[in-house]
């Protein structure tokens, strides 16, 4: 009997099919011996062990599309594992987000051997990491996805993820607005509301009156969010009925007055609708109504310059906020800067409530300009907490300008909510130029507060230094 035949017989059971010792493996074993089945089992298993398992007849083919991006430096690998795996190191907080951004910014990829261990982090930031996470895609899928994103053009952009699509269109708008508009026009009917909204927001870059017919054709979009975005863009275009109606509505709510004994000066105050009561609802209303018109147009309607308008609205915080929103709509950074460095140093937090995209800030350079204007370099905010800093990080989608990042970090170290999460979130927004100083500051702080932030800073510095040689 062969080993396979013996084991096959024992599968069914000797009670049903008695085993008759025979052949080499049955030598010396009596048929009636109670121990015969066990002895033959032992011999058959030993014989099978010496014969290796049969190899498969066919192997799967491996796709030959290697990911050519350099791998992270060797010394960074254990640091990355420490940062985003294990207890207390979430794969989706500000530090993890900053790590994914850093990898993308420097064109680096995770070491392939670390990807399985970093699975939660990879799933959360697959897009930035350039790794496809779908079933069965594996390494080959990752390489394909990366190659696609890296070489996005007008023939394949519609296959990318929503954020990449919007980024591609926003970039193209700065170079060739008409072509970008034509691409959006062709693609828009095929997209879901969420993607349509992103693409409409992307049109905010390089907006001109040439976009007006297309935008007006979208005013009846079935999704309310898309409709609002279209209205916002139309209101930014001079001469449209939407902008004029919006300004007229606001003028009806602005009351002119005067103050001063020796030198009378004009003052303005804003009357909010009676049904807008909470602070959050106030910001939403102001963003909706002021965010769609330019502050120059508003100032002209009130018969003064933007600078004089600021002076007149000085005592009304709500109106000042509204003017800041309208200044953002026309990218009037000096006006926002004047408000942030004067009466409302926390004006940037109001922008975060509705999101920067709702003001058409979709490109990295515009967001950077906004941050430079809206966040004072001498930020003094003792109530700064990790939620606020994380919201700023998420809105920026990239590091802050250096001066603002330093201001936020300094405010974080002085905040009454100082803790590991706040410090980590503040470091996550630091551009490369500020990391060395941050490391020195963190080195003098207790490890239970500064440990994770310091690890993040160390990683970002190493990523900046260069890739692992191939």
């Amino acid at each position: 009997m062969t080993p396979a035949a013996i084991i096959e017989a024992l599968m069914q059971g000797t009670g049903r099919r008695p085993l008759q010792p025979a052949g080499i493996l049955g030598e010396g074993i009596a048929a009636g011996d109670d121990a015969a089945p066990a002895r033959m089992l032992a011999l058959a298993v030993q014989a099978q062990l010496h014969d290796l398992p049969a190899p498969p007849t066919v192997f799967d083919e491996v796709a030959a599309a290697p990911d050519m991006r350099p791998i992270v430096p060797e010394a960074v690998r254990p640091m990355i594992l420490r940062l985003v795996t294990g207890k207390g190191n979430p794969p989706d907080d500000a530090a993890a987000f900053a790590l994914a951004q850093g990898l993308e910014r420097h064109g680096l990829r995770l070491h392939p051997f670390d990807v399985p261990r970093l699975a939660p982090f990879v799933r959360k930031h697959a897009e930035m990491l350039g790794i496809a996470t779908g079933e069965g895609e594996g390494e080959a899928g990752a390489a394909t996805a990366w190659a696609l994103w890296e070489t996005l053009d007008e023939t394949n952009w519609m296959l990318a993820t929503p954020a990449r699509k919007a980024g591609f269109i926003a970039d193209m708008r700065l170079a060739d607005p008409a072509k970008a508009r034509a691409l959006v026009e062709a693609q828009l009917p095929l997209e879901k509301a969420e993607v349509r909204l992103r693409l409409i927001d992307a049109l905010g870059a390089g907006l001109s009156s040439a976009d007006r017919p297309f935008l007006e054709s979208l005013a009846a979009d079935r999704a309310p969010t898309v409709k609002r975005a279209v209205t916002r863009l139309l209101a930014r275009l001079p001469g449209t009925g939407a902008a004029e109606a919006q300004i007229a509505e606001l003028l009806s709510r602005i009351t002119r007055g005067s103050t001063g004994l020796l030198r009378r000066r004009v003052t303005f105050s804003l009357q909010m609708p009676a049904n807008v009561k909470s602070a959050g609802a106030e910001i939403d209303w102001l963003a909706t109504n002021f965010g769609g018109i330019g502050c120059s147009a508003l100032a002209v309607a009130l018969g003064m310059t933007p600078t004089a308008l600021l002076e007149a609205a000085h005592d009304d915080g709500r109106l000042l906020r509204g003017i800041a929103f309208s200044a953002c709509a026309e990218r009037n950074w000096p006006v926002i800067g004047a408000i942030a460095n004067g009466r409302l140093p926390d004006i940037w937090t109001s922008f975060l409530q509705t999101g920067l995209a709702s003001f058409g800030l979709v490109t990295a350079s515009e967001r950077s300009d906004w941050a430079s204007a809206a966040i004072p370099e001498r930020l003094s905010l003792s109530s700064l907490d990790r939620h606020l800093v994380s919201a700023l990080h998420a809105a920026m989608e990239s590091p802050l300008p250096l001066a603002q990042a330093r201001a936020v970090f300094r405010a974080a170290t002085q905040s009454r909510y100082l803790g590991a999460d706040l410090l980590t979130a503040a470091v996550a927004m630091m551009p490369d130029g500020g990391l060395e100083d941050v490391r020195q500051t963190l080195a003098s702080m207790p490890p239970d507060i500064a440990g994770r932030a310091r690890l993040l800073a160390d990683i970002l510095v190493r990523l900046k230094e260069g890739p692992r040689p191939l």
Partner: protein, 467 residues
């Protein structure tokens, strides 16, 4: 703030901890004693486990961490390290904290500003005292008592032999019953039947066999359904072989006899290993290839540290520690890439793999990556076959081979070289998947005759180690 003896007394959980710590004050028991010059000290101490325990202490707040499984906090190793520091009993070499110390520092909370110093709650008379330990006298051995104890031990051994013989008979009858009913449906009844037999084997003092049998249901359910009968056949065949070999142990060669006794459940004590000059001893620099742990059915965490040295023609060894699961997730894990400068003694076996450290001169980080194996896969398999012939119940065997390519075939990965294709363990599939796209590699893992569990690989893009 420096450590003082008074502070150590305050920290000690009881008098016996201090007494135990005092026995560890010999510098020879501490192959590694280092400090960073900023109040952080760490060391390694050879305890009763297979691998040395690692202890780190911060002087400022007397924070401590030890990898031993003791449930006393601080344990005797931590107390001894503090004591040696406080009394300057040994020099501490300056150094930078290794990875395991850094990991601990990263996890721990620092000293709380303004926190009150620990207050002794117990009355002064009951407080642990170093002075009391120093005054202790060594008990004088009584020859008559010793003779009585030895006679008692001989009676116990004979009684245990008798119990084991009975339990092996019961196991063989159980195997015959299983074969009569058929292996095809064994997985359905394994949980209950194996538990019943395991209890009988525990009662019969055959703990090693009991562990094998009680681990079988879990092993069956870890593999696909169609492979379960083969796994069951393999496990029952091994158990039968061990039982038969034990029954006929007097006719076996010494090493095989010693091995089968360990397989059944007889322990070889550390002292016995040290005293037996005939056992294989290898002195050299041992590279940690892999460390893995699993929880056994008897609620012990089994920690394996696989080592390799080029000394004496090249040897593989495994240090095995057992830690109660109830003690928490503590472990004594060495990491791949560390190098132990040590002399090892191997447990008696025709395939000597399990070992104990007899002299430990320290642990360092390796200078570079694992250089890989010099052997091809066919030669490695030939070595395994020779080992299997010497020890038929061989379980996991350390297989290392160069020139291996990992390829996928359906849901399974295979390590291929020429005509040979060994299936990789299904449980390692996700972790090992990146190896399929890096070309030829040098692979180390544990081969059990059915599948190869990859643990370490040297590849064109660096070293891979199993998570």
């Amino acid at each position: 703030m420096a450590l003082s003896l008074q502070k150590i007394e305050q920290l000690a959980p009881d008098q016996s901890s201090l007494a135990a710590a005092k026995k560890l004050l010999k510098p020879s028991q501490w192959p590694t004693l280092q400090d960073n010059g900023e109040g952080l000290i760490w060391g390694e101490c050879q305890g009763s486990g297979a691998t040395p325990y690692r202890i780190a202490v911060t002087e400022a707040d007397a924070g401590y961490k030890c990898t031993c499984p003791s449930r006393k906090f601080p344990c005797k190793h931590s107390l001894a390290l503090m004591w040696m520091r406080a009394d300057k009993l040994a020099p501490f070499a300056p150094g930078t904290p290794p990875q395991w110390v850094d990991d601990w520092l990263g996890r721990r909370r620092g000293p709380t500003p303004g926190a009150a110093a620990p207050k002794p709650a117990e009355p002064a008379a009951a407080r642990p005292s170093i002075a009391a330990v120093t005054e202790e006298e060594t008990p004088v051995a009584d020859a008559e008592t010793e003779a009585r104890a030895e006679a008692q031990r001989a009676r116990s051994r004979a009684q245990r032999e008798s119990l084991i013989a009975g339990s092996i008979g019961a196991m063989e009858q159980w195997i015959a019953d299983q074969l009569e009913r058929g292996l095809a449906g064994f997985d359905q009844r394994a949980a209950q039947d194996c538990a019943t037999l395991a209890r009988r084997l525990v009662d019969g003092k055959a703990g090693g066999l009991a562990n094998r049998i009680s681990a079988l249901p879990a092993a069956l359910f870890r593999v696909p359904e169609d492979e379960r009968p083969q796994v069951a056949a393999r496990a029952l065949a091994s158990a039968y072989l061990i039982g038969q070999a034990y029954t006929r142990q007097d006719s076996l060669p010494d090493l095989l006899r010693a091995d089968v006794r360990q397989a059944v459940g007889w322990n070889v004590t550390r002292e016995a290993l040290m005293e037996d000059a005939g056992l294989l001893r290898v002195d050299g620099r041992w590279r940690v290839l892999a460390a893995r742990d699993e929880v056994q059915p008897d609620r012990l965490r089994r920690i394996e540290t696989w080592l390799h040295t080029d000394a004496a023609g090249g040897h593989c060894a495994v240090l095995i520690d057992y830690i109660p699961v109830s003690g928490g997730a503590t472990g004594n894990m060495y990491l791949p890439g560390e190098v132990l400068d040590a002399a090892l003694v191997f447990y008696p076996s025709p395939v000597p793999l399990r070992a104990q450290i007899i002299a430990h001169r320290g642990t360092q980080a390796a200078a570079g990556d694992w250089p890989g194996s010099a052997m091809g896969l066919p030669e490695a398999i030939a070595a395994w076959r020779a080992a299997l012939a010497r020890k038929p119940w061989l379980d996991a065997y350390p297989l290392a081979a160069a020139g291996v390519q990992v390829r996928a075939a359906g849901a399974r990965l295979h390590a291929c070289s020429g005509e040979v294709a060994l299936p990789l363990a299904a449980a390692s599939h996700d972790a090992a998947l990146p190896l399929a796209s890096v070309g030829e590699i040098s692979l180390f893992g544990l081969w059990d005759g059915r599948e190869w569990t990859p643990l370490l690989a040297q590849t064109a893009i660096g070293e891979w180690s199993a998570p």
